[in-house]
């Protein structure tokens, strides 16, 4: 702590909110949604004005009650205890405010007041438990900090600059997170096209004991299968999807969604997005097949790789068993690629289109190597995705941290403070306050229209 900073806080002063700003609650009037829609019907955009509530704009109306810059703080229904959310916001120009927000106008900087309220801890000023309420009586008592005017301006500018930088960072991280999905697709496509492995990795595959050209492998997998030489590589073949998987029958073994239990012995796997849709205790319904299998959502096109015992969901759940001598995981990834190749038919069935597709089949060691290459990259993606989520969470905390520092009087650097003191309108906040007290007429009592 240095003396400069202590001095700065000496130039600040704290006072009750009712002294620091004007309260214009008498300008509020509620109009319910039904009446508003009647009033705005048929009117052009230039005849409409924003209608504001506790936390922001809630609609439009055909007239205005305020015209100017104000700070609005929710009276009820505002997230007073949630540090991540704002409780105050600014409005300007012609507007109409309902009775769920207090209307404030600072004697000093409105933006300074806005940011102050958004980092203020409202505990002790809020009444009610389910519906939190900040009455005007409590609002008036809120201890409000006032700094010399140039400092208020400088602090506001710095807060906004830092918020801008933060938003910039957040936008980039979100862009990166979105691209991860595209990256996964690109990896799968590259694998499909036989371009994922390096030449060293390919050489290693060829040295494995179970290496044989895919054409020969296919004869072992399915002697009846027809295949053609693949353009991808000399020892690959192009094969029809349905020649390498068997459909597992689940008639009489399906469980309808309404019979799912929230907990139970056996998981139910269906075509929904989550891996497990629900549970059941009914042992009879377990799918009889060798694991692992691929569960395909006929309507949703979801692809799941399942290696534990389960019960099948009903509508649209297809169970596919990869044949022997083929890597089941490889087929699962191929299925995902084929899903992106076929046309989206909305809620119609998709499997009939998947099974018509051809795909290039590599020798078995290469299948394993490709799966391994895909999974290590996907693991890296997952890690990165989690890292981004954490960083985004921490950015929220950073926002609060900026505001807190600002109002602890620690945001401006020594140089920035010196600049402030050079400004012609610099004076200790106490003097500012005294002048306001002397010139202000007594505060009008809140009168409802």
């Amino acid at each position: 702590m240095n003396t400069e900073k202590m001095m700065m806080k000496k130039d600040w002063v704290e006072t009750r909110l009712e002294t620091a700003c004007e309260i214009h609650d008498n300008l509020r009037t509620p109009v319910n949604a039904k009446e508003r829609s009647v009033r705005i019907k048929g009117k052009s955009k230039s005849e409409l004005y924003p209608y504001y509530g506790a936390t922001g704009q809630v609609g439009f109306i055909d007239d205005y009650l305020t015209d100017g810059e104000y700070v609005l703080v929710g009276e009820d229904g505002a997230p007073f205890y949630d540090f991540a959310k704002n409780t105050a916001y600014m409005i300007s120009g012609k507007a109409w405010v309902n009775n769920h927000a207090h209307i404030l106008c600072s004697h000093f900087s409105n933006k300074f007041l806005l940011h102050y309220l958004n980092q203020f801890d409202f505990h002790g000023y809020i009444s009610g438990t389910t519906r939190l309420k900040l009455t005007q009586k409590s609002l008036r008592k809120i201890p409000t900090k006032i700094a010399p005017l140039p400092e208020q301006r400088a602090i506001v500018a710095k807060i906004e600059r830092l918020f801008g930088e933060l938003d910039n960072g957040i936008a980039h991280l979100k862009a990166a997170r979105e691209k991860l999905e595209t990256y996964r697709q690109s990896v799968l496509k590259t694998a499909f096209d036989g371009k994922l492995l390096s030449s060293e990795q390919l050489k290693a595959c060829r040295r494995e004991t179970d290496y044989q050209p895919a054409g020969d492998l296919l004869k072992k997998i399915n002697p009846k299968a027809v295949s053609s030489e693949s353009k991808t590589r000399a020892d690959w073949v192009d094969v029809n999807y349905k020649e390498v998987v068997d459909k597992v029958s689940i008639s009489n073994r399906k469980i309808k969604q309404k019979k799912y239990l929230p907990q139970g012995k056996y998981p139910v796997i269906d075509q929904g997005l989550s891996l497990i849709g629900g549970y059941t205790d009914n042992q009879e319904k377990l799918v009889k097949c060798e694991l692992p299998v691929i569960v395909f959502g006929d309507h949703t096109k979801v692809v799941k790789f399942i290696s534990f015992q389960f019960v099948s969901g009903a509508d649209g759940t297809k169970i596919l068993q990869p044949k022997k001598f083929i890597s089941p995981k490889y087929i699962a990834y191929i299925t995902r690629v084929l899903v992106s190749k076929i046309e989206d038919k909305g809620y119609a069935r998709h499997y009939q289109h998947i099974e018509k597709q051809y795909f290039p089949l590599p020798p078995l060691p290469e299948q394993r190597a490709i799966v391994s290459a895909i999974e290590s990259r996907f693991a890296a993606c997952d890690k990165l995705s989690r890292y981004i989520d954490e960083a985004l969470e921490r950015s929220q905390a950073m926002r609060q941290s900026i505001l807190k520092k600002a109002f602890d009087g620690e945001l401006l650097s020594e140089a920035e403070l010196r600049e402030c003191r050079k400004q012609p309108d610099w004076e200790p906040a106490e003097k500012l306050l005294r002048r306001i007290r002397e010139s202000k007429p007594p505060e009008p009592v809140n009168r409802k229209k």
């Binding site: 906004e160 830092l162 930088e165 862009a175 190749k341 960083a391």
Partner: protein, 491 residues
């Protein structure tokens, strides 16, 4: 094969010979630049030109012609060093020059190749084609990063056709890279006007002005312009090495056409006197700007506006974040709409720049005098991004692809523009938005899209995983850099 084609193929073939020797396109280009320049200086010092070129004695072309082996190598290196000290364009071209051809035998072959041709006499088209061709090839080598100095020529041409520069006016590019905008503007003015001798002189010597802080790129730009007949061999350099953003140099121009660098590196790491490394924030301190920010593109936009005369016109390539970023971004957008007439935005597709995945736009605006009322009444937007797929190799951007945009832009009479979008034709790509509509948008953002994206996962045009990984890392680095900036300010 005619002479031009045979020269081009000769130059190209040698490219590959040198590539095998570890001399990349960029390095080859650099050496060619020095040698051709010296040869041309030699040619114009003789009849019929008889120009007085002040090449230091003993370092002219003749001194290179008669040497071989180690002697050539040594003399060439000395020549490069000497010429770097010369005044004018000469010094600028040879600044920080280095010989990158290690094998003197190969160096000798390049010297001979250059020696055989009469460059001064060669049409500007030919020289231009050879040089630009090499620049383009150089830019394609993505690992070298040279692509960031090269704006796709089809895009440049479209921008010039919209702005329609006129003779006897000045044009600036404060981030000129290899000078593509200058060349295109030059060609446009020559093609569309019967220039008298005063206009020709103005075009050659007084029209163009640029900035490029990277010495090698500046050299390529100067040479590029020079081969195109812009500037005099012994004249002042038309391209400054100063960082345009640092301060207002005072000059004002009729036109600004530019593509400022993408990327958001906004601080430098340096080692101070005690040998400790620290980071210095490169936030430019410009009192004449509307907002202080470390966002380079926002700063360029503000700077460009200061470069314009009243009535001056600008066309600037800028990334998406300029259109939607809050804080300083919002301030800049609001002020731009008020103080200039921001009449057109062209949304560009991905896959046309050498930095894959870049989402960029062209902003067209006219500077106006001070006024109480905002100057922008409506912004016209052409969406050439949604459902458009280009790649650098398989489906590069051609001028034909932008012909519809230029036609709709109506350069000759912007008041006669008509939307192609309507309630009945929601797939129309040309649409206007009123000033009031834009003000209502969150943060006054100009990131406006109305077309439905039909190809959220266009399998055929997916970039390679490595390319995507690179972009993801860049995004993460930018994001984390921003957070670091904030933490640094809070400490």
């Amino acid at each position: 094969m005619n002479t031009e084609q045979s020269i081009v193929s000769k130059v190209w073939n040698f490219c590959n010979v040198l590539k095998d020797d570890g001399v990349g396109y960029g390095d080859y280009l650099e050496q060619l630049t020095y040698l051709i320049f010296l040869k041309m200086a030699d040619e114009v010092s003789k009849p019929p030109y008889n120009r007085k070129i002040n090449i230091p004695k003993g370092f002219g072309w003749a001194s290179l012609q008669n040497k071989k082996g180690a002697a050539l190598d040594e003399h060439y290196a000395k020549t490069l060093r000497e010429l770097a000290k010369a005044p004018g364009i000469l010094g600028q071209i040879f600044t920080k020059s280095q010989n990158k051809i290690q094998d003197p035998a190969k160096l000798s072959r390049v010297v001979n190749m250059v020696d055989k041709e009469e460059w001064a006499m060669m049409g500007a088209d030919t020289k231009g084609a050879i040089y630009e061709g090499l620049l383009e090839k150089n830019a394609e080598d993505t690992k070298s990063g040279a692509g960031q100095y090269f704006t796709p020529r089809a895009l440049i041409r479209a921008m010039v056709e919209c702005v329609r520069p006129r003779p006897k006016k000045t044009l600036s590019d404060p981030a000129c890279g290899t000078g593509g905008f200058f060349l295109a503007a030059y060609d446009y003015i020559v093609r569309n006007n019967q220039l008298d001798s005063a206009q020709k002189r103005f075009l050659k010597n007084k029209t163009f002005h640029g900035n490029e802080i990277v010495a090698n790129t500046r050299r390529l730009a100067l040479m590029n312009m020079f081969l195109h007949n812009i500037g005099e061999i012994d004249g002042d350099a038309l391209i400054s090495s100063a960082d345009s953003l640092v301060s207002d140099q005072g000059r004002r121009f009729n036109y600004v056409l530019t593509n400022p660098p993408f990327g958001s590196k906004s601080s430098m790491t340096f080692t101070n006197d005690e040998g400790k490394s620290g980071k210095e924030d490169l936030t430019y301190n410009r009192q004449d700007f509307w907002a202080t920010t470390s966002n380079k593109q926002l700063n360029f936009l503000q700077h460009i506006r200061t470069l314009l005369k009243p009535g001056g016109e600008a066309a600037v390539v800028l990334p998406d974040n300029v259109l939607f970023e809050g804080g300083a971004g919002e301030t800049v957008r609001k002020e731009l709409l008020k103080t200039t007439e921001l009449h057109t935005i062209l949304r560009l597709p991905t896959g046309i720049f050498y930095s894959q995945g870049v989402k960029a736009n062209v902003l067209f605006f006219d500077n106006k005098p001070a006024s109480k009322e905002p100057w922008t009444k409506e912004v016209w937007i052409y969406d050439y991004r949604t459902n458009i797929h280009h790649t650098l190799k398989a489906k590069p951007l051609r001028f034909d692809d932008l012909k519809d945009f230029v036609a709709r832009y109506k350069p000759a009479n912007r008041n006669a523009r008509k939307q192609t979008w309507s309630e009945k034709n929601p797939e129309g790509r040309w649409r206007k938005y009123a000033y009031a509509e834009i003000l209502e948008r969150d943060k006054t953002n100009l990131d406006i899209i109305w077309l439905r994206d039909k190809s959220l996962a266009d399998l055929d045009n997916l970039p390679d995983p490595e390319v995507l990984a690179g972009e993801i890392i860049e995004d993460m680095e930018s994001g984390l850099e921003s957070f670091k900036q904030v933490l640094h300010q809070l400490a």
